[in-house]
Symmetry: C2
Subunit: 479 residues, 2 copies
Amino acid sequence: MNDNHEFLSAADALLGSRGFTQDADLMEPWLTDWRGRFTGKALGLASPASTQEVSELVKLCAQHDIPIVPQGGNSGMSGGATPDTSGTAIILSLRRMNAITRFDEDAKEVTCEAGVILQTLHEMAESKNLRFPLSLGGKGSATIGGLVSTNAGGTQVLRHGSMGAQVLGLQAVLADGSIFDSLTPLKKDNRGFDLKQVLIGSEGTLGIVTAATLKLIPALADRAVLWAGVASILDARKLLLHADNLAGDALEGFEVLPKHSLDAVLDYAPQSRSPLQGEHEWHCLIELTADASTADRLQDLATKLLESAFEEGLVEDATIAANETQAADFWAIREDISPAERAIGPAVQHDISVPVSKMAQFVSEAVPQVEAQFPGTVGVAFGHLGDGNVHYHVLAPKGAERGVWERKEGKKISSFVYNLVTEWGGSISAEHGIGQLKIDELAQLADPVALKMMRSIKRALDPQERLNPGKLVWLADKV
Amino acid sequence: MNDNHEFLSAADALLGSRGFTQDADLMEPWLTDWRGRFTGKALGLASPASTQEVSELVKLCAQHDIPIVPQGGNSGMSGGATPDTSGTAIILSLRRMNAITRFDEDAKEVTCEAGVILQTLHEMAESKNLRFPLSLGGKGSATIGGLVSTNAGGTQVLRHGSMGAQVLGLQAVLADGSIFDSLTPLKKDNRGFDLKQVLIGSEGTLGIVTAATLKLIPALADRAVLWAGVASILDARKLLLHADNLAGDALEGFEVLPKHSLDAVLDYAPQSRSPLQGEHEWHCLIELTADASTADRLQDLATKLLESAFEEGLVEDATIAANETQAADFWAIREDISPAERAIGPAVQHDISVPVSKMAQFVSEAVPQVEAQFPGTVGVAFGHLGDGNVHYHVLAPKGAERGVWERKEGKKISSFVYNLVTEWGGSISAEHGIGQLKIDELAQLADPVALKMMRSIKRALDPQERLNPGKLVWLADKV
């Protein structure tokens, strides 16, 4: 306690009243993850204004043995930014560090402090006739630091890769307070281990990302959004391969949803309309994009894709959005799936991936296994077919009690699903990360060699487990 | 000695006579790097036939404390695969493991054992109407394992990235003999630290790459190769930006060479001819490529690029290769620069990079500094302008003695160059790696925080320094 008092005074002196608080009301919004699954306690909320302040604070924490929970927009999906209930840790918010510090129009590069919000970056890029090709639902609150630390995904990964693929340079504060500064973008650099890549996706357990240099691409000049109804997910896979071969780099997104999800959205969102007249077991949402250098051919390409898909019998029906409003409507259906499925009743969600080439087969073979094992449940798989990434929801049998079913039956189902996906060589976290949500599952299901490597690296870079303890990987086998 | 005897018997028993030898004649070709800079000794040459055998052998080495030098095609540029002169280490050749074990045409994925030769992969891909978009001079001997372990580059990095960017899955044997198996390609996988990326480019110091799953792309359907003469490297940079904006993803390569290099090649290669009539201070070699989905517009694009470059005064003169023969001739000039410059006399070579946006400025400002500091020398910078990667040769003053000058004056020049590039925020090894060639320079010039991280990771994964000791990074500060 004495020690905490000393730490608290020193933190206060270092960061000032804007930078450090123990006020319960000010801390409260940041103690629960946005999905409301985890609530913790914190010794204080630190909001440093610069990398130097982060470094000094981390040194102070090291001196007083205070655990640190780094936090960006608090919009993560796995509780990775929520402290535990001990109240011994501080939350280290990066939100005050929200400056775009460098922009090079010719090189199409931008350096952002960790607290820059994704939407701000989008708007800045657009104002310069450029584009940052990663987006997701939480873009109004998700920060660059959080996106890098969780290697966030989205619907454009098919073409542009995950967040890690956008990172040209990185700055982070390590467990001892030292500053790893590799912000200068070098396209080719073979000076040993790729330390940037070690930090990307490490969920703040190896270092606290304080800034990143990101690449931008030319602005979107045109897009064509197609909606296709197909007989099966295996046909959807054939259509994906056809689109990939025909459109190449113009293919930016390929999402799939089953009839169940479309019906759920049509029920849930009163303004929504089915893009096609008839009924189809599966639906594909395809986006082709072009910048100024390829815009002249995009609409022809979309037409050619549609026509050839009909000719080759790959689709039952299909249409191209007639205008930008309709294109936005198509995408709104995709974005409403999660809330619409949630509105039906209790469900457990899984963000899983298998090899892209096996996803269709996985959905057609594995999903029925879950329903057979847990009678009355309905399995709904939708998402990024082009990335092998399924968002797989299992809906409770009718009459199940919300809040109870998830914790009991739901947990068993998730365990079954994670075992299944592991058998298929897949990942129990495609894009949402491990956080505290899946830390036990990772410890149980990860390849023991990989787990040992992770623990070795964690021990090497944060031997006291001071950075985001209880997230991603424990040093000791606590399971 | 006794211990060695036991080890040797056990290795022999494990691998058989095809798999293990101490025959001096058989070992001799593998004791010197191909540039002839480093010669070492070895206790034996192991050539396991499978990952399982590699694993057993590494366990045996752990038991008997025998250092291991992994080796692929022995075509590295930095002595990274050459043992030291102690004779205590074995060479672990991956060359016998040369099978392509899996190919998925739809997914455009191929799994290669470490010993598969790059050219073999090229030929295999072409036979399937696909392409592996990384190539380099040593393609006839360089192996997949070596390319992955050194994160090799080449002239297509501008568009497709380095070797690491082609890797979808990886298998490696770690220092304790355990097998890290992540060969299954998952496009999205956020289960903790990206261990593949830790191993890529680690030069066999953290693990021995035994296999990799690589992505392929659609076959080349057409290419257009342009040659442009420009007044300065700053103009070359303007032309690069123009080409990038106009051609986008069709721009696959952008190389630059000064008048000095072109003249050297014209002298050196009797069949070579200058692509342009007049004389120009700088030359640009530009390659645009297309697969079947974009081939229809490629020649128009090339013409448009040429015409607009003339219109905007970006080039003094320029031409498009009239046919594939001429295109190959243009590229032959680029490939002959190194031998042509070497034929002139003693020189020291540097494979360096600076931020892409600064390379032109670096060449125009830094190169004269070197010449001023070391009177009589001639600095020649050429290479991958699109990647910020300069191959920077400094030619000795006339009359300097070959073999002597490099070791004395050359060493001082290299030191000066590496300091300069570090001041510019650049890398002392853009694509050739560290190996034993630059291990001291890295220890001196690397950011101490980065160096400490590397040592921590090395210590975590190979605490006995058994994997490729004396390469890339020492655990102790030996400088």
